[in-house]
């Protein structure tokens, strides 16, 4: 079967006010694959995810999902597209006023007219898939971070989406919960025949589960490759990232005025 492109990002730029976040990013996400977007915090990965989801409009360039240009869709078209894709937020974003069961049932209740018994079966099935069927009656506040993320995962896949986007799924988890989420992302992707985009800075976990990686720094793509290529790469940025060195192409210091000027030794600037 020829490899089809599901998400096509072409030369996308985006800025918040005058601060450029993305500077001409291009990438392709093939159907059925799990693709990671890696980068340090503040490199623009989450922004890229929001542009793909249609929450932010690129200042130039084009994003198309399943052949539709996201930025050109009207509200209704965008909502129709979003019914087939879902996003897992960093801290789950579970609705705090509903039980776990109602959270997972939410997309079904909003978008389908299924009878209550069928909703029940579907929800329990998805909860079983993430191993938390026993927690259906609890409120999100009673869950640990890892569990909340798994519930959110169940909610994200309850409508069997074609595309699932993960925003920092590993952030703030203990090693076991982290491995569980990683395995779930891979398993659910293959079981549902979906396509996944994982935005993360956790290079070790991603290398184990994804098919392809893109590295972003300062709004541009600095490297890409399959996990094997990345491991073998001699590229200084990839090496710094994979090995976790504090200074390198990614500087330790955020660009600032010279030290002496900030302390007021440069003279004349005290009343500025």
């Amino acid at each position: 079967m020829p490899e089809q492109t599901l998400v096509d990002v072409e030369a996308v730029s985006f800025s918040y006010g005058r601060r450029p976040i993305l500077k001409g990013i291009s990438m392709k996400v093939p159907r059925g694959k799990v693709v990671a977007i890696m980068g340090v915090s503040g490199s623009g990965k989450t922004t890229l995810l929001r542009v793909i989801g249609g929450q932010l409009h690129p200042s130039s360039g084009r994003v198309s999902v399943a052949g539709q240009s996201v930025a050109d869709l009207d509200d209704e078209g965008l909502y129709r597209l979003r019914r087939r894709m879902s996003m897992l937020f960093q801290f789950g974003a579970l609705f705090t006023d509903m039980t776990v069961f109602e959270n997972v049932a939410f997309p079904l209740r909003e978008h389908t007219r299924l009878p209550e018994t069928m909703i029940r079966d579907l929800v329990l099935m998805k909860l079983e898939a993430v191993g938390l069927r026993g927690l259906a009656r609890l409120k999100p506040a009673e869950l640990s971070g890892g569990m909340a993320r798994r519930v959110a995962l169940a909610r994200a896949v309850v409508l069997d989406p074609m595309l699932v986007m993960y925003d920092e799924p590993f952030a703030g988890l203990d090693p076991i919960a982290l491995a569980v989420i990683g395995q779930l992302i891979r398993k659910l992707n293959d079981a549902l025949g979906a396509t996944s985009i994982v935005v993360t800075h956790d290079v070790f976990e991603s290398l184990q589960i994804v098919d392809y990686l893109y590295f972003i720094a300062d709004g541009v793509i600095v490297g890409e490759g399959t996990p094997d290529e990345v491991r073998r790469s001699e590229h200084p940025y990839l090496r710094q990232f994979v090995q976790g060195v504090s200074d390198g192409p990614v500087p330790f210091h955020y660009p600032a005025a010279p030290w002496a000027q900030d302390v007021g030794l440069a003279g004349g600037g005290a009343h500025a």
Binding site: G53, Q55, L78, Y79, R80, R82, R83, M85, S86, M87, F89, Q90, F91, A93, L94, F95, T96, D97, F106, P107, E110, H111
Partner: protein, 264 residues
Amino acid sequence: MLDVRKPLMRMGHNVVSGVWRVGSMARFFGLVLASSGTSFNRFRLVMREVYFTGVLSLIIIIVSGLFVGMVLGLQGFQTLQRYGATESIGVLVALSLVRELGPVVAALLFASRAGSAITAEIGLMKTTEQLTAMDMMAVSPMARVIAPRFWAGIISMPILSLLFSAMGVFGGYVVGVVLIGVDNGAFWSQMQAAVDFRYDVLNGLVKSFVFGIAVTVIATFEGYDAPATAEGVSGATTRTVVTSALVILALDLVLTAFMLRADH
């Protein structure tokens, strides 16, 4: 020279951003109305919010109404005694409550009890990305979260105001008739002679309806507009209470002027 210019610039900045806010609030109000379809198709969403904004405000409304009525009774008695018109105590209590205090005080209480809760809840939903998540699930937060709260507020406010007034009259009765010993018949008959259903009761109801719109628009807007931080939400909650109070009192002046004019 610099010292004079800075406060002036800050003042100008505040005025401009204030006008800006009024504009965005008006646009927000239009958006809420436009996304209200869901609220009526699935009225249970509104009923749920009526429970949270209205039913849970009952205690404070009932207790405050009772106290305000009793205080009015005591104060009124003190003053009316000088003119030998203590039977008019019922008139005084009922007219003050039905025309002014019922709608206004109930709205102020509603703003601080339910309005602040609405702002905090929506602000927190925004901070924890629940609204974004909903939007990404192709469910409009405007239709699913904001509009039901807005309509619930509009339904709750007049009911709370009526209950406040009724409890206040009862409080006035307790003080005037039961404690002080004003004649029961005179108390009620004077009241009935002076309080007109259309001019007094219905006008008060119109007021509380308008206040309900104002408070819920402010509360939902502040929550929706809150910066996604802890300080952002707490600041928005404070603004809801302060802005609501000012708007309620200003609107009350305008409405009262209109109603007295229409009266005669």
